[in-house]
Symmetry: C2
Subunit: 234 residues, 2 copies
DNA sequence: TGTATACTGATTGTATACATTTCCAACCCC
DNA sequence: GGGGTTGGAAATGTATACAATCAGTATACA
């Protein structure tokens, strides 16, 4: 991959991290990356420091960089925090959104539905990222956006798994999420900030349901287990 | 200032920005700074990128770095956002604080009262910064802390002005703020998160009062103006 | 056999030379 | 005289050589 500009390199790395092509916790080697992007180590290090500042990676002295990790503890914190931040941002977005931003939001939602139809989990997650990032822009509040950006990193990485429906029931949940996006667009367009808050909270209730199904799946059929026990006993 | 380590350089620059020794919006020159800290441009640039990532400065391609600016618009956003973030963080801090963190908090508050007694506005603002940063650590929530850190940059820079009391009335407000700090420590120590929220909100009501006095000061005595008019008329 | 220590290869950190871009001012042309 | 152009100084961006640090291994010694 020769001669990408620094900005392209930055956004490519972000994409690879968000899509978990670069797994959480994995090591990043300056030299290898610099060769890969066709630049010397100096600008590559600069890119890495920016990623570190934005929370995509962590660095430690003389020990290089790692993709930011995601343990079970961060997931708990994540679901604790996300509803509040997203709801407040949606509320501000409904107040302050501009016309062009609204178009960008509709674009993102269009990409989202297209990706779900194609059953492309990665594209779905990235479109979802863009959708919520645009709402962040609308809110016009750098303090909250700092928090949102961190949340979106983990949001997108987590949701890779949930946008791969295993059955009709899970497929239904994704359709419901998409409907909520549409409703949110309408609320933001109409400057209805109270409604935007409500819809955001509903959106997160849904996410938590999906999440719980994943963490605590339907138990395996009992008779298979007992069958196995019986066979062992013979 | 020869041979400071990179970390020292980083925290020194943060301090100079927080204390407004480096004014908001002022230009930063790589070469000059590198000489000043006795290092070459390469590590200096690295420090600048970190500061940019943390929101202390802004950089633009081929155009160098500036200290993050503070206009009237950001102040509005600031007061809109700060109560919510600080209150939520205080609540989490009350739940999750550890013993050593509580000691650090008491230390910061000690420094705060000492600085107010000495009428040292800069030291007061920096001690206040540390006080709220420690509460952020206690909360153990990287998403909210991202937002808090941004808020604290502007909080500390703004408050330089308010910790310089012009009269007994304003002095009283600072004493009241200090009392609220003490109450907050007690609430956090006792794991009373609901109380911590309440105290945080009160703290911000006070700040807003102080702020309003600054933006909208007591009008000048009317008769002086009329006197001047009369004299002009003669 | 277990532990401490010295060596070695690999990786990160720094300095410096060089390339590129920007800014500003002098200049020319209309 | 005003506006656009062009030169050059000063700044930022990049590449590369070199220094410092770390991790892993082999070796010596108890």
């Amino acid at each position: 991959m020769p001669r990408l500009s620094k900005d392209q390199c930055l956004s490519d790395l972000k994409l690879r991290i968000l899509s978990t092509a670069l797994a959480p916790g994995s090591d990043l080697d300056e030299t290898t990356l610099a060769e890969h992007y066709g630049m010397s180590r100096t600008p590559m290090r600069e890119v890495l420091h920016r990623l570190a500042g934005a929370g995509f990676i962590t660095t430690s002295e003389n020990r290089g960089a790692k993709v930011a990790s995601m343990d079970i503890g961060t997931m708990r914190t994540f679901f604790q925090t996300a509803p509040m931040i997203y709801a407040n941002i949606a509320s501000l977005a409904a107040e302050a959104r501009t016309g062009p931003q609204l178009e960008a939001l509709k674009d993102a939602q269009h990409a989202f539905t297209k990706a779900t139809a194609a059953q492309d989990a990665q594209a779905t997650a990235l479109a979802n990222h863009r959708f919520h990032a645009v709402i962040g822009e609308m809110a016009h509040n750098p303090y909250l956006v700092a928090s949102l950006d961190r949340l979106l990193i983990d949001h997108t990485r987590l949701s890779q798994r949930f946008y791969r429906p295993a059955n009709a029931d899970e497929k239904m949940l994704i359709v419901k999420a998409s409907d909520q996006h549409d409703a949110l667009i309408t609320a933001i367009e109409a400057h209805e900030s109270a409604l935007a808050i409500d819809l955001s909270l509903q959106h997160w209730d849904l996410s938590r349901d999906r999440m719980e199904r994943y963490v605590r799946p339907d138990p395996l059929p009992v008779d298979v287990v007992s069958l196995k026990d019986r066979r062992n006993a013979v």
